[in-house]
Amino acid sequence: MKDSENGYHISLFKPTTERARFNRNLIFWLASIWFIAIFGFQIALRVLQKPTPEPAFLVFENVWENVSNGSASTPEYQEFGQSVLSVLGKIAITDDEKTALSNALSWSLYSTYPDSLQSGLVSNISEFESLKEGITNITDENYVLEKTKLAKTLGPKLGLSELDVRTTILPLEVTAVNIEGMTETTRSQLPGIMKKYLVHNQSFLTDARFLGFPFHYFYTAFFLLVLFVGLCLVYCIRSDRRNEILGIKD
């Protein structure tokens, strides 16, 4: 008799005993639930997603053309500066992107000032930058005082209220370097940077809220883990019961 005919063969797909059949069916059911729950949901997220801009990006798109060709009005410069500041407030940006954004922000602020006051703005910012470089502790009393003073001065010029979180970060992001104009690098990079940080993949699955979470986040970070424990529990209970019925002892 050939080895292949002697019955000593194991295959998940071709079970030869009752227990093996039970095992195969249980594994297929659990693995299918597992697979669909994980990958099916992510595929659904991918299929349903739409590039959704933040309000700051819409503002940027509205004013960019006028700002880039130098024909913007003061309110347009303000809106432009605000939208740029919305990206600067995100901590994930790279150093190169930060340089371009700071240049755009500083220039838009500069452009809101009348010619006669622009040199005063530059010296204010320069003085604060020098102070910032010299401190060893960001809670330094004089530094905090000057920072607050500068925020109160610059915020309204950019149309920001005192309660806007961007007002607090404004003094930290403006720079006197190249403030008189937007550099060519900034001009070419800015639209891409703004799109990268202000347009997101959203759908009703990301917009809906559940227990405080965005739904998709809850599903992936919490529910899936509950499901995994549940699947394991079901497998163990059913395996033990089947072994008991078949009189199999481990």
Binding site: I10, A20, W34, F39, Q202, D250
Partner: protein
């Protein structure tokens, strides 16, 4: 503001901070406890050393699985990944938990029934080949080394933070301590320690979360749910007016501009794609079912049903931490939102978040000590798995079959020391984030050991030739992926560098490597001589009955 808190907050921006007395005392006390437990329950013979005398209960084994699993990558690395790349980081959470379902339904009970000591033991016996046993042992050692590198990095970061010393010195000191402890205790001591370590890890991780949720006015009774609103607040932004009384320890209000990129899937701002999310989750899941030190845990329970139930317990204990880790990333995102905080070392964000949240320095110290415990528990398990492969599978089974138990134990200990030295040297290079470094080990396991176990258990048609061919295919993919990764780190550009680096990324090359290894194994097995009848008989009568 209280001056002491200001000092702590300043330290949060500088890893080179000064020596911290309270956290150092907590760390030393915990380490002394580990060593004492290791001594009391130390290995008396080789059976103890490799498999803890097969005397561990299923709940105890579950706790040990969780402790063994909850490494620096879980404790520190996961929050770091989410802090830096938002929703993309959740692929690691899903990958590192979902793999246990595969492990349970496909392998746990069967591995225990097979009744071997190590992964290489199984491979050598099932594929009736001493050469494959040796290759399996070498792969197990490589996986343990790759896995340990990230852990040593985590130990270094926490020692650096606590002791206020240089990273290089911190890695060397931390590595020496964990090596000494593993050598003293062996696996029996390690298993007992793992249960204690689990308790320390989970308590130290959860206490700051309760406090953070309470302090910043979120639902604190169940922080794993309470932080959901923190995520939503990050997405929509928190105006100053809504957080008038809430400050971080640097004096910044608990406010932020909208940062939807933190939660939105494969956001362009993170530079991560849908493919990478899927590839990482998949690779980590199959890697979980192929890691020698995880598989080895099933040898220490008395019977197969205990092996199955220990997975359920282990996964539940693991999930307690995994449900919590994203909360640190969410709080960290808002607490460090002000540009003045500067760029923080992502791998230490768990500790920085607690510091920025104005949590008492001793509790932050306990948290850091918990991070060290997490790394210790995993490293000790990995070193035992690696040294077992060296001593049991290479030295005794291949090099010197007549070795006395005393020599075998000595070989295991020499193997442990050599591995620790190699790992320390690589960890000093700081090649990537902790979580990413650990993911390399998973992909390696997914391409090599996982296909051998999967087919070895579930298809008696898989034979020696198929196993060798599959291993070569999986190994080749691994070598290509790692060559491109290392070349990239060294600043060298290889042909089609960008293309290969994207599709065969070092953290997820198993997405192609594992299926390829399985297909090659099946094809070659079909074309060559059948598996010997005694192996097939054993599979039916011992493993599947």
């Amino acid at each position: 503001m209280v001056p002491a808190l200001l000092q702590a907050a300043t330290a949060a921006t500088q890893l080179e901070g000064s020596f911290k007395v309270g956290p150092a005392i907590i760390l030393i006390a915990i380490l002394v406890l580990f060593v004492m437990v290791g001594i009391v329950f130390r290995a008396k013979d080789t059976n103890d050393y490799y498999a803890a005398g097969r005397s561990i209960s299923k709940v105890g084994s579950g706790m040990a699985i969780a402790s063994n699993w909850m490494s620096a990558a879980s404790f520190l690395g996961m929050a770091a990944l989410m802090y830096g790349s938002g929703y993309h980081g959740l692929s690691y959470v899903v990958g590192w938990t979902g793999g246990y379902v595969l492990l349970l339904i496909l392998m746990a009970g069967q591995i225990r029934k097979y009744g071997k000591y190590t992964a290489a033991d199984f491979i050598g016996d099932r594929y009736y080949s001493q050469s494959l046993r040796a290759v399996g042992a070498i792969i197990a050692i490589l996986i343990s080394i790759a896995y340990c590198v990230g852990q040593f990095g985590g130990i270094g970061l926490m020692f650096k933070w606590i002791l206020g010393i240089d990273y290089v010195l911190a890695v060397i000191i931390g590595g020496t301590v964990v090596l000494a402890y593993t050598l003293i205790s062996g696996m029996l001591g390690v298993t007992k320690n793992m249960q204690i370590q689990y308790v320390i890890i989970i308590i130290s991780f959860l206490i700051p979360l309760f406090i953070l949720n309470f302090k910043f006015d979120y639902f604190w009774l169940l922080p794993q749910i309470g932080y959901g609103s923190v995520v939503s607040d990050a997405v929509s932004g928190i105006p100053l007016a809504e957080s008038e009384q809430l400050f971080n320890s640097l004096g910044h209000q608990f406010a932020t501009v909208p940062v939807p990129e933190f939660a939105m899937p494969w956001d362009p701002a993170t530079g991560k794609t849908f493919f990478q999310w899927i590839a990482i989750a998949f690779s980590l899941m199959i890697g979980t079912a192929g890691l020698p030190h995880v598989i080895q845990r099933f040898y220490v329970v008395p019977k197969a049903s205990d092996a199955r139930w220990s997975v359920v317990w282990g996964l539940f204990f693991i999930c307690i931490l995994y449900w919590s880790a994203p909360a640190y990333a969410a709080f960290g995102k808002i607490l460090s939102a002000n540009p003045e905080v500067g760029k923080l070392e992502a791998d230490a964000i768990v500790v920085y978040t607690a510091q920025l949240g104005n949590i008492h320095p001793l509790i932050v110290g306990l948290l850091a000590a918990g991070g060290v415990s997490a790394a210790f528990s995993t490293v000790s398990g990995l070193l035992v798995a690696g040294s077992s492969a060296f001593a049991h599978d290479l030295y005794v089974k291949v090099i010197n079959p007549n070795a006395k138990p005393k020599n075998q134990l000595l070989a295991a200990r020499i193997g442990t020391v050599i591995m620790a030295i190699i790992v320390t040297a690589i960890a000093l290079a700081k090649l990537a984030l902790i979580g990413q470094l650990v993911a390399v080990a998973f992909s390696l396991a997914g391409c090599t050991i996982f296909p051998l176990f999967l087919l070895g258990i579930w298809w008696s048609g898989s034979n020696k030739q198929g196993a060798i061919a599959g291993l070569i295919a999986g190994g080749l993919v691994s070598v290509i992926a790692l060559t491109y990764f290392i070349a990239g780190k060294m600043g060298t550009t290889l042909p089609a560098h960008e293309f290969i680096s994207y599709w065969l990324g070092a953290w997820y090359f198993a997405i192609f490597g594992a299926p390829l290894a399985i297909i090659v194994n099946i094809i070659v097995s079909k074309l060559t001589k059948e598996t010997p009848v005694e192996i097939r008989k054993f599979l039916i009568e011992q493993v599947h009955t």
